[in-house]
């Protein structure tokens, strides 16, 4: 009776708990770790042991991930006991600093999020397309000028979303090295508590300074508007800005780089996309499903006992919703381990689910669609300049991606 044994969340079943995060297969770096696949084949709700010896339930199936992330009995409040963290420094940070809406529950979460929803709504982002297209073309102009070799991460995938989020927030892009380095530290699974704390503090000080400047010199940016509205103090504006700045470029940058790589690895799929540019919207949904850059789960903690997939998650126990395995769930995406740009992937949960689902998803989609269509149209001979085995996948980051992607054309 595997199921009943696993409903007991006490110490008895910890001996066979899965150490998480688990290593990926070097041969299939786009796929969930083999140990996670084996465990979810045995039971869809997996007991895991984290770095600090604490336990959490891994929620691996599409249905259950949607259930948990859509259920307000699972809290996003990072200060609650039992909330699972993968990095010591981030846990300390959440305990010592005022949270953003990312780690709050409604009604406070909704109040803060709704100050920003209009900025990222579909029609607002659609109106930005010409500007995103122009930025994309400028980056490619420069690459072509300096070519025929480039690092697709540093020269294209990272600057594009970084420039766009800077424009939206009202942050000078000239400072990108400063905030990109600190954002990387916040996402690193290896960063010490001190590195995380210092990076966070430096970013907040920097953004509070920008907020003060907007008070003197208002413009059309998000930070300027938040200052003018006067509902948030400078510290809150800085932490909201920090959230958007960090979330706004690392994620999309890694999706652009991984998408470019996986398309170059699947020439038949790429040929299909080239032959039929209208396919790009669906293709981006399939790439989001297949690559799902959040590989270590979306964390929640049960505020009361809740039954999920035959297991009772007790109040105070942590769960990690594995959106990457949910997006490979065979019952929802048959043949899901294969990239198929013609697939209807619309039900993927790459942006999460529930009221915390990614605020910036319309922007991410527009950037991905424009970046990938333009990249492969303007550089028809694009190919990796190093063997696939040498591509530096970032296993040490909370957001999966590539450290670099040397290309030629």
């Amino acid at each position: 009776m595997t199921t009943s044994a696993r409903t007991d969340s006490g110490s008895a079943d910890r001996a066979d708990a899965l150490a998480f995060p688990a290593p990926k297969s070097a041969k299939c770096p786009f796929d969930p770790p083999p140990a996670v696949d084996r465990a979810r084949a045995a039971h869809p709700v997996v007991r895991a042991t984290l770095w600090d010896g604490t336990s959490a339930w891994l929620i691996t199936e599409h249905e259950h991930v949607r259930q948990v992330l859509g259920d307000k009995r699972f809290s996003a409040e990072g200060t609650r006991d039992g909330f699972p963290y993968l990095v010591a420094g981030v846990r300390e940070l959440v305990r010592t600093m005022k949270p953003t809406f990312f780690r709050q529950d409604d009604p406070e979460h909704a109040r803060l999020r709704r100050m920003l929803t209009a900025d990222f709504m579909v029609k607002r982002v659609e109106a930005m397309r010409p500007e995103i297209q122009q930025l994309t073309d400028e980056l490619l102009d420069r690459m072509i000028e300096n070519g025929p070799e480039a690092d697709l991460v540093a020269d294209f995938a990272l600057p594009l979303p970084s420039v766009v989020i800077c424009l939206l927030l009202g942050v000078p892009y000239e400072d990108h090295r400063f905030f990109q380095e600190r954002a990387a530290a916040l996402f690193s699974l290896q960063a010490t508590a001190e590195e995380v704390r210092r990076s966070q503090q430096e970013l907040l000080t920097y953004l509070a300074g920008i907020a003060e400047r907007k008070q003197r010199e208002p413009d059309g940016s998000i930070i300027s508007r938040l200052v003018a509205q006067g509902e948030l103090d400078f510290d809150e504006i800085a932490s909201t800005g920090r959230l958007l700045l960090v979330a706004g470029h690392e994620t999309t940058a890694n999706m652009i780089a991984l998408s470019a790589l996986v398309l170059m690895r699947n020439p038949d799929q790429l040929a299909r996309l080239r032959a039929e540019p209208a396919l790009v919207k669906g293709a981006v949904e399939e790439l989001l499903r297949y690559l799902t850059i959040v590989h270590n789960g979306i964390p929640r903690v049960a505020a009361e006992d809740v039954a999920v997939g035959g297991v009772t998650v007790r109040a105070g126990e942590g769960v990690l919703c594995l959106v990457n395995t949910a997006n490979r769930d065979e019952r929802v995406f048959p043949g899901g381990d294969t990239l198929d740009l013609g697939r209807d992937a619309n039900r993927h949960v790459a942006f999460g689910f529930g009221v915390h689902q990614c605020l910036g998803q319309p922007l991410a989609r527009a950037e991905l669609q424009i970046a990938l269509e333009t990249l492969f149209r303007r550089l028809p001979g694009l190919r990796p300049a190093i063997p696939f085995e040498d591509v530096p996948f970032r296993h040490d980051q909370a957001i999966y991606g590539l450290g670099a992607l040397p290309v030629t054309w």
């Binding site: 209009a118 709504m121 998803q361």
Partner: protein
């Protein structure tokens, strides 16, 4: 089909606008959902069902009985 929404639940992710743009829009001031066609024609029903299914906040309620 009658399309109803609960703006209190809406988190402004925009999935519905992307999936069924003939039926859903977002409010200019806060990005929350608006229904622009609460009795959509039959050829849009599948898209509306998909929008309701993928709505992360379960803010779209469909009355399939409504003629």
């Amino acid at each position: 089909m009658l399309v109803q929404i609960d703006q209190e639940l809406c988190c402004g992710a925009g999935s519905c606008v992307r999936t069924a743009p003939e039926v859903f829009d977002q409010r200019d001031e806060d990005g929350l959902v608006l229904v622009i066609d609460e009795k959509p024609p039959a050829h849009l029903h599948d898209a509306v069902r998909e929008a309701a299914d993928i709505c992360p906040a379960a803010a779209i309620l469909l009355d399939e009985q409504d003629a």
